[in-house]
Subunit: 474 residues, 2 copies
Amino acid sequence: MTKIKEDLMLKTAELVRLTHEAKIPVMILFEGVAASGKSRLANELLLALDAKYTQFYATKTPTTEDLRLPFLYPYWKNLPARGEVTIYFRSWYASMLDYEEHGLKKEVYKDYKVLLEEIEVFENLLINDGYEIIKFNVEISEKKRKEHIEKTKENPLTRWKAEEFEHAIPKETYLDGMKKLVKATDAISPWTIINYSERNQAINDMYEVIIERLEAALKKQKKKKKQPADGKFTKNFTTDLFVDTEDDMSKKDYKKILPELQDRMREIQYALYEKKVPLILVYEGMDAAGKGGNIKRVRESLDPTGYEVNAISAPTETELSYPYLWRFAVDLPRTGHIEIFDRSWYGRVLVERVEGFASTDEWQRAYEEIKDFEKSLLIEGAIVIKFFLVLDKDEQLKRFEERQNTPDKQWKITDEDWRNREKWDIYLEASKDMIDKTSTEDAPWVIIPANNKKAARIKALKTIIEHCEKRLNI
Amino acid sequence: MTKIKEDLMLKTAELVRLTHEAKIPVMILFEGVAASGKSRLANELLLALDAKYTQFYATKTPTTEDLRLPFLYPYWKNLPARGEVTIYFRSWYASMLDYEEHGLKKEVYKDYKVLLEEIEVFENLLINDGYEIIKFNVEISEKKRKEHIEKTKENPLTRWKAEEFEHAIPKETYLDGMKKLVKATDAISPWTIINYSERNQAINDMYEVIIERLEAALKKQKKKKKQPADGKFTKNFTTDLFVDTEDDMSKKDYKKILPELQDRMREIQYALYEKKVPLILVYEGMDAAGKGGNIKRVRESLDPTGYEVNAISAPTETELSYPYLWRFAVDLPRTGHIEIFDRSWYGRVLVERVEGFASTDEWQRAYEEIKDFEKSLLIEGAIVIKFFLVLDKDEQLKRFEERQNTPDKQWKITDEDWRNREKWDIYLEASKDMIDKTSTEDAPWVIIPANNKKAARIKALKTIIEHCEKRLNI
């Protein structure tokens, strides 16, 4: 090893130990045509870093199973936690070009430009959350590249590898595509072009860029002050958005209508499955508004192999070491499946705003982030319906007391529920802001009066069925 | 809902809340032919349980990607953590029959009986670790089954589902196979046959079995005393197993041999890939014996897309909520890949025994568990090589002091290293016991004298290459 190279390597290793301690997550991408030398560069870097907090992820052509999940799903799944480093051998960029070249999920995307939108949203979200994204595009002279391929071909044990090179995306397509993508995304987080024609120089260049970026990231982190957490609530907030809490429903009607809707719901499930459309249902609302019972009626007649309920509690230690959207992004439904969120990513602008778990800047930024996140769900072909179950304050008290006094239901009521009740007005304001700021045409909030549980259930089922019938044309 | 059914449902829900609090993991399996009613039973149960700690896993026919991982991999991946419940809709049993029926990985297994061995090892391990496994085999009269299929066929929206029934494993093969499997595994954890011909009775039967089993599990848990943790060490332990710490190697020879072996190692990697053989390397040994540097020389010329280093630290909170083998079982290499463990599952009988993190019973049981675990890796076609790097006590001191005095290396030495050094003799005894009890013909321990780092690296590389050449016939 040349002396300079070793110094740079040691410096890099030291800085990564510091970013590890400072809990800065680092993503390092290597793009480049086949046989450009990016695997040698990536391995060089890997050797320098501590395996305890370093991951390596190689982008592959998606399998049929991968195509049933969102485009960025593999990258959400393989995101570094705070303090970790992930090295990407080819990334979402090569992946996008692969989708385009082979017409993957064409019927869903129509125009592959939407994938670039997804990428921009993804990188911006991560950067705002403190991620350091270092992007290398490795180039090589055609002469050197051919030499490399020939050498690999000579050896009978590695010949198949050389042949593999020729099955990837055509070189010209890749180079043209990357040129455009580098230009389009350089402003989000800058690219570095590395020329591998002279190996040692390339390695030095790589280390120098990483050193510069990590030093800057550490400096920025040091300067960062603790962010204030202010929910910015109005005194004596009132709204007429949630006035309508009552809907009528006789027991007799309910008993007649419910099974009919549930049968239809089961048919809808099969139709979603057949047409490969994922359905995402979000339930939010006041405590004791009946979210659980409502969800139960939706799923009661469904095939359990095709739906899942994700009941959201306080984040675990692991979940806290990722961006708040992570635990949802890794739990999205496959095509044709139904995912029901009993509470959701909206916790960011509800409980986290109210309790001060998110800084002012974080919860205020979240409205746009959430709209972007849902937009990417729509790009992926999902139906997204968001229910807000609204209850009046007296009815809540009645239900709390009933839970308290019924042995089978006592487990449902905790001190936290009573504490939240004391914050009724500010939860109301947070909910109002959320609905105002995140209702979009394709991912609307549906407000459901929930004083009458039966009526609320029927309304939710009818809403889901109508949306799906319209979308599925059945 | 009939009154009896509702009572049983509430009782079940209550018991699962208790097993959740008591941190008892529960697995509930549903087997049965297509259209036997098992999806209705499973959904009934799902509705009763709190989604916060309940998962549902549907066994599917393995994809090509699945076939690159061990047979039980999906079940390790979808294991309930302590306090959780996982409902399996078809399980490793149907999976085994599917492999057999379709001749999957035939060239690896030769005889599918080995999968039954894997299953027995898996269930026994879990049960010894406190898992409650409740297995249902759902039966139905042929008349009822046909009615169900006909009804599904009538509706245009569900017709494809009915047709799917006929593409599964042939009914007779499944029934015959399950009969044998139920008989073979009833003693590990008992099966319950449920007849679904009368729906409400079937539901009641299901709840009654679950109630009985969970009550027993809770009672057992209550009676359980805190297990003593005694490493059972001998006073003034000595062994001549680790006397040989020196191997000679001149700088000149090293500089000549190393690159040759590394080039060969790269060829071996391609050959493993082509022949789809996974290679698992385990590194254990004294602190500062040079495991990291040794691993570095093995991976230095490898293609980073085909190997991974897993450096083991103290388990995280999540890892602690599973059996100790879990974090390794979910991180095994795909066919053709290399996984290098820098420390490993042997922590159970080393640090966990020494520090009292495992009870006497747990670390004593672990020798057999580990042998069984490695046997299942071999069944899956892996090459397993385990290195123990041995250093003498004076050389360790010299290396510790050098680390202390070299600014670039200070991060490598911690107070814990010094504390471990004080326990030199008992680590020695634990290591000796480990090697005596877990060296098998196909997964041998290779003891590497490590006072001379260069010689140690050459020996490890040569060992790996020889084993692989022999196995791959190259």
